[in-house]
């Protein structure tokens, strides 16, 4: 019968993981749904569980001069209470599920579940988050973009745990986030959209656009961003059709129970246009940590 391992330290957890074939269980909100069974029967886990949700080493948030390090087992709710967490990430988290889910679900779980509709993912792609993966002997750091291969597919080895997420501090002063879902609470995204820009002296110094639920992975198009970087705001109007064309080639959504391909693509392109036309002009001042 399937059992559970409760490690008292992170080191112990790594040791168990090295020796046994287990499923890593942090908050469990995705796993419990995936392995749901009839009422009053045990969930259908195929392997033993390794519980990480209570490890204090994985629940720390540390602020450094140039970046913020978030423990992978921090619950989504706990991030909302920390000042140094970028406001745009908090915005996305407030739109995830419901309070009771956010109180258990972890940021590491949202990443490792690797759903195309994972709502923290577009933000983490746009902020170019780095993930620290640790096994009993060593550790490595990878970009989130390289970590996720496709729906539910990640490069985490069997003996590795996602220990923390590192986000560089940034100077984005134009921030826009939109989640399109069937209702406000407990909705899985039809589209999630984030755009960040650093604008000074009417010039775009940096811009990042990431879109979720429109493909197997989060869509971020460097070629599209490069068209805009270094340009003056007044030139944007003339560049929009070119930008939309680049994105149009890269956004290839699917039809599913939540939405259609055509809807997703149309809305994604319009959100890009809306951000460039309206929000960039409108949002004066502020910064990513406001």
């Amino acid at each position: 019968m399937v059992e559970g391992y409760l490690a008292s330290t992170f080191k112990e957890a790594l040791k168990i993981l090295n020796e046994k074939d287990v499923i890593i269980y942090a908050g469990g909100t995705d796993l419990m749904v995936k392995n749901k069974n009839e009422a009053s029967l045990l969930p259908k886990f195929s392997k033993d569980l390794l519980y990480l949700g209570n490890l204090s080493e994985l629940k720390e948030i540390k602020e450094y001069d140039s970046d913020i390090k978030i423990g992978a087992a921090c619950t989504l709710s706990s991030l909302l209470r920390v000042e140094s967490i970028p406001e745009v990430l908090k915005k996305a988290i407030r739109n995830i599920a419901s309070p009771a889910i956010r109180n258990v679900g972890t940021i590491g779980g949202n990443i490792c579940n690797a759903s195309p509709a994972g709502d923290t993912l577009p933000i983490l792609y746009a902020l170019e988050a780095k993930l620290k993966l640790v096994n009993i002997n060593s550790s490595r750091e990878v970009n989130i973009n390289d970590f996720i291969l496709g729906p539910g597919k990640i490069i985490l080895n069997d003996n590795e745990i996602l220990e923390s997420i590192v986000i560089e501090k940034s100077n984005f002063n134009k921030i826009y986030y939109e989640k399109i879902g069937a209702r406000k609470a407990s909705a899985i995204s039809k589209i999630s959209f984030v755009a960040l820009a650093e604008v000074s002296n009417q010039k775009i110094k940096d811009i990042r656009i990431a879109i979720g639920s429109v493909g197997p992975k989060i869509v971020r198009v460097k070629d599209g961003e490069d068209i805009l970087i270094g340009r003056e705001l007044k030139d944007i109007e003339n560049l929009i059709s070119k930008v939309k064309k680049v994105y149009s080639e890269k956004i290839i959504p699917i039809n599913d129970q939540r939405s259609t391909s055509i809807y997703r693509k149309t809305v994604a392109l319009r959100l890009i246009q809306y951000f460039l036309n309206i929000e960039l002009e409108k949002l004066e001042g502020g910064n990513s940590n406001e």
């Binding site: 019968m1 399937v2 059992e3 559970g4 391992y5 409760l6 269980y25 469990g28 909100t29 419990m32 749904v33 749901k36 009422a39 009053s40 045990l42 969930p43 886990f45 569980l49 519980y51 949700g53 209570n54 709710s77 599920a97 419901s98 309070p99 009771a100 889910i101 109180n103 258990v104 406000k184 609470a185 407990s186």
Partner: protein, 158 residues
């Protein structure tokens, strides 16, 4: 994992040798005979099974007892007898916030968790606080009125 799991349920220390992957909801209802938490959807959408674990509102259908080891769990039965429950009970009754009653234990726990964090909530706070709890009878307005009423009458209790 050692064979025994220790939980604090409604202020009582409970040790069990049940399988650690058992859902907390099933453990409460079947092993403990605590039937306040209900199974609605079994996947975290409806909040009928919501309990408070270490001060946070959590759906007991999404938690294994192994992951709740050492934690302090309160169900609506544990809340009963407190001054806060008295106020919530009266306000829910007066506002007509209970019809079939299936969602009520979850709603009471969500209301208590909300008021413990925000003692003077706005209507938006209340809507957000119960956003993970479904009710198919009341249309929610009566429940929202009940919680706002409880915040006012229970001033200082939370």
């Amino acid at each position: 994992m050692s064979k025994t799991i220790t939980l604090k349920i409604n202020n009582k220390i409970i040790t069990t040798e049940e399988n650690s992957t058992k859902r907390l909801l099933d453990f409460l209802r079947e092993d403990m005979d605590i039937t306040g938490p209900k199974e609605g959807c079994g996947e975290g959408e409806c909040g009928a099974c919501a309990v408070i674990i270490d001060k946070d509102l959590i759906n007991s259908c999404l938690v294994t007892i192994g992951s709740a080891e050492g934690k302090d769990i309160t169900t609506v039965e544990g809340l009963k007898g407190t001054n806060q429950f008295d106020v919530l009970e009266k306000c829910f009754a007066e506002a007509g916030a209970v019809q079939c009653g299936f969602c009520t234990p979850g709603m009471i726990m969500a209301a208590h968790a909300l008021l413990s964090k925000i003692s003077k909530p706005t209507e938006d706070d209340v809507r957000e606080g119960i956003s993970g709890n479904l009710c198919r009878c009341t249309g929610y307005n009566m429940i929202i009125n009940a919680i706002l009423m409880a915040a006012k009458r229970g001033d200082g209790l939370w």
